[in-house]
């Protein structure tokens, strides 16, 4: 089961509002604390789009600088998280497009075709049940999904974002987000069945 968060609206955090107000006056340390609180989610958003941790970190850095320079345009300080995540996602998508066009121009494999770096196996008991071979097969299948299905699927995978936030990031309705996630899982499962991985144990 994917770990997308529940759909309750995010409550205004007075600390975030205070830090945004300080950062608007030019307080770098306040902006650093704002970034630090959301850095993990931002890096995962960028990683979902780019697939490579180094590229994702560069996109997050670009997005953070853009957020710093545009902080005056943020109308609701309490909505800093969603605003920052949208900037991160846009920067990651821009980077993905530019990488794809560069690879297309010079004939190398595109970013989507590069081998995925799968983190080491989780020591958790449920993860130990899955073989390394099956994990790699699933990872390759997910990477091979169409981007329209893969993006919401990976954004929802870690549970950082609600479906509404994913819908805002992708600029699509919430129902479409849910359908695409379900479709991505269904397509991956069907391919695994054809590859003979019907039983994951």
């Amino acid at each position: 089961m994917l770990m997308a968060a529940a759909s309750e609206p995010e409550a205004a955090n007075p600390e975030v509002v205070r830090l945004v107000a300080l950062a608007r006056t030019g307080d770098r340390s306040a902006f650093g604390r704002l970034i630090e609180d959301h850095l993990g989610a931002a890096r995962r958003v960028a990683l979902a789009a780019l697939g490579q941790p180094m590229d994702a970190d560069e996109a997050v850095q670009d997005a953070s600088i853009a957020a710093w320079t545009r902080l005056g345009t943020l109308q609701d300080p309490a909505a800093f998280r969603g605003w920052y995540m949208r900037i991160v996602w846009r920067k990651a998508i821009d980077r993905r497009r530019s990488m794809r066009s560069w690879f297309d121009r010079f004939g190398a494999s595109s970013a989507d075709d590069r081998p995925m770096e799968l983190p080491a196996a989780d020591p958790a008991p449920d993860t130990q049940l899955m073989s390394r071979e099956l994990a790699l097969a699933i990872a390759q299948l997910v990477r091979a999904l169409p981007r329209k299905l893969r993006d919401p699927f990976l954004l929802a995978a870690y549970g950082d974002h609600r479906y509404e936030e994913i819908a805002l990031l992708l600029d699509i309705p919430v129902g479409t987000v849910k359908w695409r996630i379900s479709e991505a899982r269904k397509m991956s499962r069907a391919k695994l069945d054809r590859l003979g991985h019907g039983d994951p144990r």
């Binding site: 850095l39 979902a48 953070s64 320079t69 983190p119 993860t127 899955m130 990872a139 997910v142 990976l154």
Partner: protein, 178 residues
């Protein structure tokens, strides 16, 4: 079957979650803060963002205005007057007219004042006193003075005899070449 399917779904979700897992990087926030550029105020940002655009718009608007209000090209400047001619006293032939008024008169396409309708000319009211003087009647030709019998006899015509010589053949003439 359902158990296998659920396990497969769980496996897919676990792998997807691991695909978006990032290692902790405590120094990343510090690196980002160190790389932040100097912050400009909102007014400064507006100025930096809009001044080039406003300048471009102003240039285009000015060029359009000048183009719309352009005048016909003025006659080229007269040739420089030689010193001798310049030193000579100049007597104005006509009354001096300001250049602008002169150009306006040249370029005028509509009358400055509404034209008064012309009065129809009536033949009965023609002003014969100020018209051309009537041509006098021609005198009769004296045809009798031209009759041959009347001509004086002493004024006979003498024709000298023609002297014909042998003409050379055309082939003997030298041909002139260009």
């Amino acid at each position: 079957m359902n158990t296998n399917r659920d396990l497969l779904d769980d496996a897919i979700d676990q792998v997807a979650s691991r695909m978006t897992r990032v290692d902790d990087d405590a120094a990343m926030a510090a690196r980002i803060v160190a790389a932040l550029p100097e912050r400009v105020s909102w007014f400064g940002w507006m100025v930096h963002a809009w001044v080039p655009r406003l300048a471009m718009i102003a240039m285009v608007a000015t060029a359009s205005l000048l183009w719309a209000r352009r005048e016909a090209p003025i006659d080229p400047a007269p040739a420089p007057v030689p010193p001798i001619a310049a030193a000579a006293p100049v007597t104005p032939v006509t009354a001096p007219m300001p250049l602008a008024a002169e150009n306006a008169a040249l370029n005028r396409t509509t009358p400055l004042e509404p034209l008064e309708p012309l009065e129809p000319m009536e033949p009965a009211r023609a002003d014969f006193e100020r018209s051309l003087v009537a041509v006098a009647a021609l005198g009769p030709l004296d045809v009798e003075s031209l009759i041959p019998d009347v001509l004086p006899a002493e004024a006979s015509i003498a024709i000298a005899p023609l002297a014909l010589t042998d003409l050379p053949l055309s082939a003997e003439f030298p041909v002139e070449r260009d």
